[in-house]
Amino acid sequence: MKYAYYPGCSLHASAREYDISWRALCERLGIELVEMEDWSCCGTVHATSVDRLLALALAARNLSIAEAMGLEMAAPCSGCYKNLRTADEALKGDAGLRAKVNASLPRPFEGNTVVRHPLYIILEDIGLDTLADVPRPLHGLRVAPYYGCVLTRPAALHPVDDPEDPQGLDRLLQTLGAEVVPYPAKTKCCGGAVLVSHTDVVLDLTGRLLKQAKEAGAQCLAVACPMCQMALDAYQSQIERRLGERLDLPVLYFTQLMGLALGIDEGQLGLGRLIVSPAKVLARV
């Protein structure tokens, strides 16, 4: 099992713990990651807001690197994943658009890779059966799975999960022995797209969803996107101030929780880089 690895900008900076834990996980599971040479920023929503064609070209530039490697692409940031996946689908499906975009590129987009998110690589290519007997099951840990918006939306041409009631992360956490806490906001957006420009919007949206998870009994959240993680973790003290109540909900990457369950050394999972410390919660496992 070998993938062209597209870390994206966050995993090289603010979300290094996602990169570290995902790599450690791959090593344990026998997944080979080859980081794409000279990958560039996917542009996220902001490039699309400025110029849709430019955003498609930026995605196509990266897709063509994975194509040259002859590998499927693994993109752990939901934002990158959505951008690359939808661009891939649009360019594969529309020859006119492909020609227009290719005219701007040094290497043409050919349409022979597939963009995957690590969560679904684990679910589909590794399989939950393989994970049935983990060395350190997460017994006693009540986790709220948080999918956010663009991991499952807009619906893919060949959807890997339900766009509004996905189950993948729930099933993974259950298999790892955790108790999954149901709460309606699991696919509600954190507002990360306007995190800097309209911070108050984000604080309201994240406040509602964290409160809901807490009231449902969650001790921590599991996420699969660095933007969601930042909005929920780094901004949590501001959210608490706005709500006027303490939340103290650690927000872990699913790769970190999975690494723990697999018995990977904690030092390799970047737990100390989280802003709301998970130490107290994890001590109970």
Partner: protein
């Protein structure tokens, strides 16, 4: 299901002022062309999109009315509206629209048309523009520069200071890169951008004067 406290109460609808002479009958076609196809005639104004929108409480019109305003040709109002910038691209509307309208993509197209025509006034428009500039400079995002340039252009020192505590925490946790990462050939992105803009950007249009923005015609 219990009543959803997260969906804010939608206030009574304000009257949208405007006269027929301000309408641009080509507007919906312009948006459609930008998106590579769209038929808003299928929208039957059910309101599922606005009912699903997490940020509708911050909007003046909401996605349902925006779709209708586009169809009616209310280009000026739509493109100057802050609503399109409060859209956080969550695709809840798109996932639920019974008529298969790609609402979230329409909102994104409206944002880029607003920027191209010089009508975007929202802070998020500035952020998006600065983001692309930093991206083209390094090929990868460099957050310190992005934030400094954004705050310099938009929110000022006060805005920056308000987030100083967070900045320090992030720095302490090693979450802020001290030096930008660059791709090998940053010129490549500039070239891509130039080639894309040749011929593809819409002409800036001055709706008040009913003609293309002077000096920016190509």
């Amino acid at each position: 299901m219990e009543p959803d406290a997260r969906q804010p109460h939608v206030p009574a609808l304000p009257v949208i002022e405007g006269t027929v002479s301000e309408l641009d009958p080509q507007f919906k076609d312009e948006v459609a062309a930008h998106l590579g196809g769209l038929d808003l005639a299928y929208c039957f104004q059910c309101g599922v999109c606005s009912g699903s929108c997490p940020t509708v409480a911050w909007m003046e019109y909401g996605p349902r009315r925006i779709m209708h305003m586009v169809r009616l040709g209310m280009a000026d109002k739509v493109l100057r509206s802050h609503d399109i910038w409060f859209c956080v691209s969550c695709y809840s509307c798109t996932a639920r629209c019974p008529q298969g309208i790609e609402i979230a993509d329409v909102m994104a197209s409206l944002r880029s048309l607003a920027i191209a025509k010089g009508l975007a006034k929202d802070r998020e428009a500035t952020f998006s523009r600065v983001f692309v500039e930093v991206l083209e400079r390094y090929g990868r995002m460099y957050e310190p520069e992005l934030l400094l340039r954004y705050y310099a252009a938009e929110a000022g020192l006060a805005g920056l200071l308000r987030q100083a505590g967070l900045g320090l925490t992030m720095l302490r946790k090693g979450k802020i890169a001290l030096r930008p990462e660059r791709i090998e050939n940053t010129g490549e992105l500039g070239e891509i951008s130039v080639r894309i803009s040749e011929g593809s950007r819409p002409e800036p249009f001055d709706y008040a004067q009913d003609r293309p923005v002077e000096g920016e015609e190509r």
